[in-house]
Each structure stands twice: as C-alpha cells, then as structure tokens.
C-alpha cells in the first residue's frame, strides 16, 4: 500500500491565531472565509465515522447546506463506540457555583495532560464546552436532573469541581443518540447520504490535496471510490493495537493508518491511556475488556490487602489489613486522582504481589462505606446499571463484595497531527475526535473525550472546513482520474494478497500475540530494553502474518475474517510506530511512563527542556524509518510544573 509514495517535505504549521488566548477563537471565527449559503450545496464533504465527532459534524455541515456523505462500518451510525462512554461530559457551566470557569477547565485539561497539549486548542475546547450542553439539552438528551428540574452534575477524576453532566451511566449513548438523531434527520431530508457497513480502505490524494476515499462495501465486498472536496476522518482511536482493550471489537486504525501512508503525519502515537477501573481478564478466552465508569471512584474506595497473597474473603479482612493506597498517597484527591496515576498505582500493587481475585490480577473497589453512608438505594440509582453489568460478567454481587478492577487500554491521545483548524498536513484532510492527536496532551481527563468529540463536530469543524473550501480553488476531478483508479487497484490488490496466503494461523491468534507484546513492553510501564525488544519482535509478527495467516472466504462477500485481517495488518505496522515513539521520548509524561524517568516518589518525571513538543512522524516508505518532525509547544498561560495531586 502506497509503497511508491515519496516523502514530501513536511512543515508543521499549527496555524494558531494571534492575540490573547481568550480572544483567539472569536477573532479567528471572524477572520475565516465563509461559503455563501447558495454555494454550499456545490460542495461534497466526506465524513468517515459516525461517533460523536463524525455524527455531529455530518449533521451540522448538512444543516449548513453542504452535501455530506457519511460512512460507518457498523450496520447503523447509532452503534459507533462513543455509545459505550459511561460517566459523563465536562462543561465549564459553573451551575454549581463551586468555582468553575472556562479558564479553570482549560487549566485542568492542560495540567491533566501533563503539559503536552497545544494551549490554544485546549482553551477553545473549554470555551465551546458550554455550548455543547445547551445543544444536547435542546436535542432532548435526558441528562440527570435535580428535583428543581435543573441539570445535575458530579465530580470526576483530576478536577476539584463538579462539572460533569451525565445521563445515568449511559452518557455516551445518550449524547450519541442526540447526534445520531440529528444525523438521521438530515438523512431523511436528503442532505446526508449514509453508507453503513462500509469500511474506508484508503484516501485519495490528488495534487497534494485529499479528494476522496476508497471504500469496501462490507455486505457485498464491492470496492468503490467517493469524491469529496474535503475528507474528514472521525474514525476513533487505536487502542485495539493492544488486542485487549475497552474499545469495541471493530474499532480500528485503518483509516488513519492509510492516511499516514499517504503522507499525513502521526503525532504522539505513544500517548495511550490506560483506564484504571476495568474488570480484570478472566482467562485465555477473553476477547475484550469491560470498563466500569470512573464515576464509581466518587463513592468507591480502592484498596488491596496489606499482606501478600491474602486469600481471605475481602469482607473478613479487617481495616488494619487493608491498604487504601490512593487515599494514603494522595490525600487531596484520594480516589479521584487522574487516570494515569490511579492505573500505575494499581499496577505497582499487583506487580508487588498484592493482587486480588483468582488470577491475582486486580484490586478492590469497595462500596461498603458508601452504602452504609447513603443507603443501597442511592448507590443503585447512581450506578445500578454498572453493578448489573459487573454481575453479568463476573457472577459477583458488588453490593455485597467489593468489585475487582484493573487498568486496561481505553483511549489514545495520539493520532493524526492537525493544526488549529483540525486539518492534517494534507490539505483537505481533516481529522476530528479521538482520531486526531487531540487536546488531551499526554493524558486525558475523564469525561473530556465526549466533550472533545462534540466540540470538534458541532462547533469547530463546521467553521474551519468552510474556511478551507472558500479558500481553495481545486480542479474538478472524477472517478476516472488516475489517482482513483490506482488507489482502487492497490486496495483490491491487498485484499487479493490477504486471501491468497492461506497459511495456518487465524487473524485473531496473531492479533493476540501482537497485543501481548504491546501490553508487556509498551503498556503502563515502559523502558528502553523492553521497547527495543518489542521493536525486534513486531517485524517478526508482521512477517508471520504475511506468510502464515489464514483468511478464509471470498472477497465479493460478507467476510468478517477478511475485514479483521486488513485491520490487523495495519495494527502491526502502527504498533511499531507506537513503540518507536515511546522509545524516542526519553521522559515520562502523563500516560507515557518510562521507568527510567521517575521522581523519587515514583511519579512521572518530565523533561521539559528536551521534550516539550508534539512528535509527528512521517511515513517514508515501507521498510524505511519514519521521519520525526517536532511541533514545539509553548506555554504562555499555564506554568509548567510537576503535577501534584497530593
């Protein structure tokens, strides 16, 4: 795929507008060019993905009058994995009168990201957060209410204010349904053409601009291309490079990876977030991990036995034998420390032999105190569906015994590099939501992914994309253009190649093997030796895949093995880039914890002098080392400091 692409010189220009941070976005909105409403229907915009970012962007651009084509691999746009987000969405509404402000949300996000995000983007995110809540309420999202009828909020990790809006434990579902319904309305009006069970397999670049995509119809196997004046990737993250993650089984990196191989640079791939509260794996058969919302840490207390291998029933372990390690170590934030800190602390406890459960691979999250304080009914009201879910999966009743939890791969802060306008270095190729390298720096705070997805889709892209279209005079192209024909041919060739291997290993078995290497060597703790080992092992896995995978079935058919094979082929390549990035970043920051670089207390030790930049990698041909570009990060408003949650 794209082996003949010569690397073109990349100059990263973040295009951050001038002026004080509070005014940048407003000024920029005024300065950007507009497309006349009558002319918008002449433009075709392609949006890949229908999660919070994709669906909100598709609906909003269609409302503005653009012709939109939207693609998703599921059978309906309502199933995109945003649906699974449980806890909530942050917004600087300050309805609680507890000291919140746009500036504070901005500050918390930059600090939570361990100073590896672009300040101007984060400030804008905090600014539009308030509009998101308004929009969602108007759409009929049934947010939790107080008895007076006003919106309720709760607190979340990494913040000392209660700014998280929620709809039971199904906030992602309800926000997605809001965006999905807005999208369906536009489909009904003929303004959006929706393609479900459609997987984007490549992007078509003509004269340096993104002009379309090549898609496989997953029901019939047909390959076809679609033309666009702009292409928007809203395809989510790449946690499944680790095989076991909380992502849906279908979540994949193929769209962003193919864009990377066409010249889009990939930023901070090693910033992968581990969620501290997931159900620990139960054995070999495990196909994915299930998250228990971070909101549980509001009322649950995390602990492990003080004695190694303590096999007593947790209810029989007296207080004196329990180690509430988060509360002890971080008295100010206690159980609500950010995700990276909570995850690493759990890893230390388990690695040291204090793990609980049959496989000794978890720690306890205990609700006994909360139930005693508030009563079972209130806990049930707050988290009932999570407790039910836990019961189904483990067969244990968390009202009576503490939950067992352990960190799992959950979210990827890294992604395709974008400028302030959310455009990649390929003009006309926009990347939104989790798929871009994001506003979360090296670590995302809870309830901020939903915020970013919807900010990008509802309130940022609809402005910046119009500016691009108004500013661009590109030649008309059609399906007969050589670039479309060539890209289609390359996609078809790869499919033929996969089906021809007829080896002995299933796609899943190779994916699992890759995941093990990634989790062991590039997971919660990373070090030079381990990363080098991974970089030696991954090419071997890649070779094994291309020589010995068995993809049954045909191309012109619904073929789930073939779908998986294409995704895993890309994951293997991406895995190498993740490890390479992790190896090059000789510091610890946020979710990227290099064991060599830690403070005496075991916290992440940043190296601001040498690493205050976004690392953007450029593809330079198969078998060649990617080229590293650096976008320096400057902090004018938030002072760089050692994060402290004590």
């Amino acid at each position: 795929m794209a082996t003949n692409t010569q690397p073109v010189a990349v100059k990263l220009n973040a295009a951050v507008p001038e002026g004080p941070i509070q005014e940048k976005w407003d000024r920029h909105r005024f300065q950007m060019k507009l497309v006349n409403p009558a002319n918008r229907r002449k433009y075709n915009v392609i949006i890949v993905g229908s999660g919070l970012a994709g669906a909100s962007a598709a609906a909003t651009l269609a409302e503005q009058g653009y012709n939109v084509e939207c693609f998703c691999y599921q059978d309906s746009p309502r199933r995109a994995h945003s649906v699974a987000a449980q806890g909530g969405i942050n917004a600087a509404k300050n309805y609680r009168n507890d000291g919140d402000s746009i500036y504070r949300l901005f500050y918390d996000t930059v600090k939570g990201g361990d100073y590896r995000a672009r300040e101007a983007n984060v400030y804008r995110l905090a600014q539009v957060s308030v509009n998101i809540i308004d929009q969602c309420v108007a759409q009929g999202v049934p947010f939790a209410r107080e008895y007076g009828g006003l919106l309720d909020t709760r607190s979340f990790g990494g913040a000392q204010v209660a700014r998280t809006f929620y709809a039971r434990g199904q906030t992602g579902q309800q926000l997605l349904l809001g965006a999905y319904q807005a999208l369906e309305r536009q489909i009904g009006l003929g303004q959006v053409k929706m393609y479900s069970r459609a997987e984007m397999l490549d992007v078509v670049v003509i004269d340096g601009r993104a002009r379309g995509i090549v898609v496989r119809d997953m029901a019939t196997g047909k390959i076809r291309s679609h033309l666009g004046d702009a292409v928007v990737l809203a395809t989510g993250g790449y946690s499944n490079v680790f095989y076991l993650s909380t992502n849906a089984k279908g979540c994949n990196a193929t769209a962003v990876w193919r864009a990377y191989k066409r010249g889009a640079v990939f930023a901070n791939p090693c910033f992968t977030q581990i969620h501290p509260t997931c159900i620990p794996p139960a054995g070999e058969h495990q196909s994915k991990l299930t998250l228990m919302s971070e909101s549980l840490r509001n009322d649950g207390r995390v602990w492990a036995p003080r004695k190694k291998g303590d096999n007593r029933n947790p209810r029989d372990i007296p207080e004196s034998d329990r180690n509430y390690y988060l509360e002890e170590r971080y008295p100010a934030f206690g159980n609500l420390v950010p995700r990276d800190i909570a995850s690493r602390a759990a890893k230390v406890v388990v690695d040291d032999g204090y793990g609980v459960g049959e496989l000794k691979n978890g720690v306890y999250l205990d609700f006994a105190d909360a139930i005693q304080r508030l009563g079972k009914k209130i806990i049930q009201e707050r988290y009932g569906n999570l407790f039910d879910m836990y019961m189904e999966i483990t067969g244990e009743d968390a009202y009576n015994v503490p939950m067992r939890i352990y960190p799992a791969l959950h979210y990827t802060m890294g992604g395709l590099w974008v400028d302030y306008n959310l455009m990649s270095n390929i003009p006309g190729l926009f990347v939104i939501g989790e798929a871009n390298f994001s506003d979360h720096g090296a670590n995302r705070l809870g309830a901020s992914a939903l915020m970013q997805g919807l900010a990008d889709g509802y309130f940022i892209l609809p402005y910046t994309l119009g500016n691009y279209l108004a500013d661009t005079k590109a030649d008309k192209v059609d399906h007969n253009h050589a670039a479309f024909k060539d890209t289609e041919a390359e996609v078809t060739e790869q499919i033929t190649r996969l089906l021809k291997i007829k080896g002995k290993r299933t796609v899943d078995s190779i994916h699992r093997e890759l995941g093990e290497v990634m989790w062991n060597n590039c997971g919660m703790g990373r070090n030079e030796a381990g990363l080098k080992e991974a970089l030696a092992k991954i090419p071997a896995i890649r070779a094994e895949f291309w020589e010995n995978v068995d993809v049954p079935g045909e191309s012109q058919d619904l073929n789930q093995s073939l779908e998986k094979a294409g995704r895993v082929a890309d994951f293997i390549e991406l895995a190498e880039l993740v490890c390479r990035d992790a190896l090059h970043r000789r510091e610890s920051c946020g979710a990227h914890f290099r064991e060599e670089y830690q403070t005496e207390e075991g916290e992440a030790q940043r190296d601001d002098e040498n690493f205050t930049y976004a690392a953007a990698w450029q593809f330079s041909g198969d078998g060649n080392e990617p080229i590293l570009h650096k976008e320096p990060l400057t902090f004018e408003y938030v002072k760089l400091s050692q994060r402290s949650y004590k």
């Binding site: 059978d75 369906e184 089984k249 879910m389």
Partner: protein
C-alpha cells in the same frame, strides 16, 4: 464445558439456510456467549471451513449490534442482557444450544446470523429527533424538566435498537422500539412542539417497513435487554389518537 451447537447457516439473502450441527469442547464457564462462538470460529477456520458470521461490536451490552435467538429466545434466557453479556456459566455441560438469527420480514437475513435492521434507522428519520439546528440552543437550564419526567424519558431512551423486541414478537411488531423513541422525546418539553407529527410520521413509517401490529403479548418487554416497559406502547397509542383528533395525519406531514 462441552456443548452441542445447532447454528443457522445461510450464505446470503438469496440462498436457503439450514441448521448445522457442531460439537464444541473446552468452553470456559467464564466466557461470554460470543467468546464461545469465537472459539467455534477459530476451530472452523483451522479446519478450513467458513466461520459463522454474526454481528457484534462493543461486547458490553450498549451498542445494540449483537443479537441472536438462543434456544428460541431473543438474547437467551437471562433477563435484561444482550447476547454479548450472556455468560456461559448459565449453561450446563452437555447442553444443546440452538442459535438462529432474528426472524422478521422487515429484517432480511444478510448472512448466517446477520440481519439488515436499517428499517429502524428509517423509522428514526420519520420523526425520531427534535428539529434543533446546531448553534440555536438556549442555555441548558432555561427549560427546567421535572426529575420524574426526565427519569421516565431516560428509561425510554435507554433503548439500544438491537431489534430483540421485533424478533420476539409473533407479529414482528416494532412498536416497543418506536414507542420508546417517541416517549423519550414526547415526555420532554423540548419534544413537545413536534410531538404529534413525530408519532404520526414514525408510526406510518413503521407500517410501510412491514412491521406488524401490537397484540399486547408482552414478549418484547420480556426479552428487552434494557427492560423497556410496554407502558410506552400505551403512551404511543394515546399520543397517536390525540394527534388524529388534532387533525395531524401522515399525508399532511
């Protein structure tokens, strides 16, 4: 545990399907139903056979993608769970398990256990939304909503669109799905303005898609992984009658 599986295999919409028997050994009681099928598929691929095609995605009971008839019951016998949440500890060693796709005229089979549920999306297009354009919303706290109403609306909004209600219904009715969306929106003040157009439009669409009518059997609620109450169907009927009296008809829309 060791199992005997009888699984519906069908190459595509045009070919006839049939139940095929498989023996599957060494299934962990802690694995999920779909992980059990993963194991079968791994073995089938290794034997050079085509794996069983089934829809699935989040595997945590929220995306609504998975769904199959397990021993004749949509999502299996456990109440209030999706197929992906169903765990093998609820079966016994030596059990025979019959696995079939959703069966309904409006859900044509695509392959094996995969059906086409796009009719649900078209029902939503017919009114399952509040017409509010991005950017035009007032402050979120301008419209107070009583907690009781918001909670009831949320009960309805919890629907995951899996289609179990249709598959379980002897009439293949989509009334529970449609009613849940109507109730979610019509219960809220924001949804009030379009309430009659919504119910009339969605019900009309439901009928043209080929779903049957409701005869109050209640199987839909019984199998619903989110326990959506049948009461919402009564509410839909009431809204529909009021809309008719108000003179709102599908043709007018």
């Amino acid at each position: 545990m060791n199992l005997k599986l009888r699984i519906w295999r069908q190459k595509n919409a045009g070919s006839p399907g049939r139940l095929v028997d498989y023996k599957l050994d060494g299934v962990s009681a802690d694995s999920s139903f779909l992980e059990m099928l993963d194991l079968l598929n791994e073995q089938l691929i290794t034997k050079g056979e085509e794996p069983v095609a089934f829809d699935h995605d989040c595997r945590e009971g929220i995306c609504g993608m998975c769904g199959m008839m397990i021993n004749g019951v949509a999502h299996g016998l456990r109440p209030a769970v999706t197929t992906c949440q169903l765990h093998m500890r609820h079966f016994r060693d030596g059990d025979t398990i019959i696995v079939e796709p959703w069966r309904a005229k409006a859900f044509p089979i695509i392959k094996d256990l995969i059906v086409d549920r796009s009719a649900f999306d078209r029902i939503i297009q017919a009114g399952g939304f509040i017409s509010v354009t991005t950017g035009s919303a007032p402050d979120g706290n301008v419209i107070p909503v009583s907690k009781t109403k918001a909670d009831l609306s949320m009960d309805a909004a919890a629907c995951i669109g899996c289609g179990a209600c249709v598959a379980a219904c002897p009439n293949s009715s989509a009334m529970l799905f449609t009613a849940a969306k109507i109730a979610h929106l019509n219960l809220l003040p924001q949804g009030e303005v379009e309430k009659y157009e919504r119910v009339v439009g969605m019900v009309a669409r439901m009928d043209t898609e080929g779903f049957g009518g409701c005869t109050n059997i209640g199987e839909c609620t019984a199998v619903c992984p989110k326990s959506i109450s049948q009461d919402f169907i009564a509410k839909m009927n009431s809204d529909f009658i009021k809309a008719t009296f108000a003179g709102v008809t599908a043709a007018e829309k």
